[in-house]
């Protein structure tokens, strides 16, 4: 019954839909940012949205959502383009350019904010909401706007799919084909600003960085194809959005933004460990399997080549483990004369001969 109540709860519906939309847009766009080594672009753009929000308030005099969206889109894109300009026209590297845009645009935002506070009596609550998001205050009308932005962005991506893909993986080749690479890069960079606009309401400025990076980084582990990666990233984005929103509503009192981000981070950790092929766990298991196989061969070699070794029953812990395994597989038996040491069985003898042959072949 509790679940049914939850599902029909107006705020809960809004938050879940909003969080899913955020996942849907930030996942695919994040893939491009991560692959183009601009993972922290989302962080810079989201901080740079603050002056836009303030400017729209100064111009329109209200906290209207469309004004906020246009404002943050403009300054966010401006910051992204400034970043591109700084890296192209000076010897500053991407990281420095990102840090500069992030901090200076945010500083301009702070200055504008205090200007607003000194001229009229706007409450400071606006900034808190901007920094940490206010998922619970999402309205149906906001969702329509967020959905519209998501749709436009995904359509743009679909239309410029080939160009975006080529510029991401081989800019120089794209240039030789006569593609306007700078323009495409600029569009890809500015589109992240669209995702940020959707995310401001849900998770706030600081955590927006994770919503760009985490789904893409997780999806990269599962797929080797850009298309697959985009779809998986969108899925992961939606799952983390929905689970974060649900936990937040059930717990009452825990903020939505951090929970969404932690869900996404958990998915990243699981992906890093378990993804087929690339997962760290599989790598570790493979490493130990190979190590064990080598130790087996070495033991068989030693027992076959050096009769002294069979008398030598004191073994290190690692060797004893391998000896036990060989015994269970029927390669070895405890030697009967004297009750200590090891003896090769006929099967072991055969395997050892093979090992010796390979080892000696390698040696020569």
């Amino acid at each position: 019954m509790q679940w049914l109540d939850l599902l029909s709860d107006y705020t809960f519906q809004n938050v879940v839909i909003g969080a899913s939309l955020l996942g849907l847009i930030s996942g695919p766009l994040g893939c491009f940012a991560v692959l183009r080594r601009q993972s922290l672009l989302g962080d810079a753009i989201s901080h740079a949205a603050l002056p836009g929000v303030c400017l729209s308030f100064i111009i329109t005099g209200s906290r209207d959502i469309s004004g906020v969206i246009i404002g943050s889109l403009v300054t966010g894109s401006l910051a992204a383009l400034t970043m591109l300009l700084l890296t192209r026209k000076s010897r500053l590297k991407t990281d420095a350019a990102l840090g500069i845009c992030l901090s200076i645009f945010f500083a301009i935002g702070i200055v504008l904010l205090t200007y607003i506070q000194s001229t009229n009596n706007a409450s400071q609550g606006g900034l808190e909401a901007f920094l940490f998001g206010q998922a619970a205050a999402t309205l149906r009308s906001d969702l329509w706007i967020m959905g519209g932005i998501t749709l436009v962005t995904l359509t743009l991506l679909a239309v410029f799919w080939k160009q975006a893909k080529l510029v991401t993986f081989d800019t120089q080749y794209a240039r030789t084909l006569g593609m306007p690479t700078t323009a495409i890069e600029a569009v890809l960079t500015c589109m992240v600003a669209l995702a940020v606009v959707v995310g401001l309401q849900m998770v706030g400025v600081i955590l927006m960085a994770a919503m760009i990076v985490a789904p893409a980084a997780a999806a990269r582990q599962w797929s080797r194809h850009l298309g697959g990666m985009l779809v998986i990233a969108a899925g992961i984005g939606i799952v983390s959005g929905v689970s974060g929103a649900t936990i937040s509503t059930l717990s009452r009192g825990l903020a939505t933004g951090p929970l969404v981000v932690l869900s996404a981070t958990t998915i990243v950790l699981i992906s890093l460990a378990l993804a087929p092929g690339r997962g760290l766990l599989w790598g570790t298991i493979k490493h130990y399997r190979q190590k064990e196989a080598l130790q087996k061969q070495q033991l068989l070699y030693a027992l076959y080549k050096h009769p002294l070794a069979s008398k030598h029953y004191r073994a290190t812990f690692g060797a004893r483990w391998v000896l036990g395994k060989l015994k269970r597989q029927g390669y070895l038996v405890r030697s009967t004369d004297g009750g200590s040491g090891w003896r090769l069985t006929s099967r072991g003898e055969k395997a050892a001969k093979q090992v010796v042959a390979t080892f000696e072949e390698v040696a020569t």
């Binding site: 922290l40 200055v111 994770a210 890093l272």
Partner: protein, 304 residues
Amino acid sequence: MIAELLTNTALPIILVGAMVGIASSAVGTFLVLRGNSMLTDAISHSIVFGIVIVWLLTKQQSGLVQLVGAALAGLLTVFLTEALANTKRVKQDAAIGLVFPALFSIGVLLLNVYAHDIHIDTHTVLLGEIGFVWLDTIDLFGLPIPQALVSMSIMTLLNYAFIGLFYKELKLATFDPALAKTFGFMPTILFYVMLMLTSSTAVAAFDAVGAVLFIAFAIVPASAAYLLTDRLWMMFIIGALISIAASLSGYYLAVYLNVSIGGMMAVMTGVFLILAFLAGPRYGVITQYMKRRRAREAPVEPPF
């Protein structure tokens, strides 16, 4: 007379601003040169996590324990980032973007849970209030010195003492880590000490300018200096000069316009960066343009 100057509110604020700039641009210079600028962003955000954890363990909200705890949180961020990047499954920039929001989220959630027991103002942590530094003073040599000024001066001394002592090693480790390693200079340890100093500087600068503007003070003067000179020692001098100039001009502009002082100081560092970007004597956009035009107009000498 000095006491009079210090009770005046303008001077302490400008001095604190300049000291924040000088201390953070010292470490920022190395981060900019190494291409790790965004680590300041990560460190300054995860310090919130450190502050909450130290509070949970010791119930102390300020003081030396908090300083050390926050600095350790900064180091933890870097350590986790490096560990993630070392798996070769994610790039370093993505690793930064994964680690600090996660730590920050945990910090915010813990604050949610213990909200009624703890009075950490996230607002202050993120923005700071340099306008009130003169309210919090301690007596030194019979003079009321602002506490922020003392802590920032200590950090400046520490940073420059480290840089001065290991200047040669740091220089080599920055420009040629491989060679530094073969000489036995231990570039990794030097780097971690540098980051430890960065997080301590960030913590000390918090009360004054907050987490985000600290990034501006650490990265922007150093980047501007990088555009102006090719000498490492000149970068420190130019960085310090830009910090002082930004602090001075930022303060008076902020007072004139009645806006945030810390914010305006950070904006001024940006203005100096734009100046360096456009009019730098060697790498400036205008200089490059003039050089290219002169080269085009000059008669081409035949090679033989």
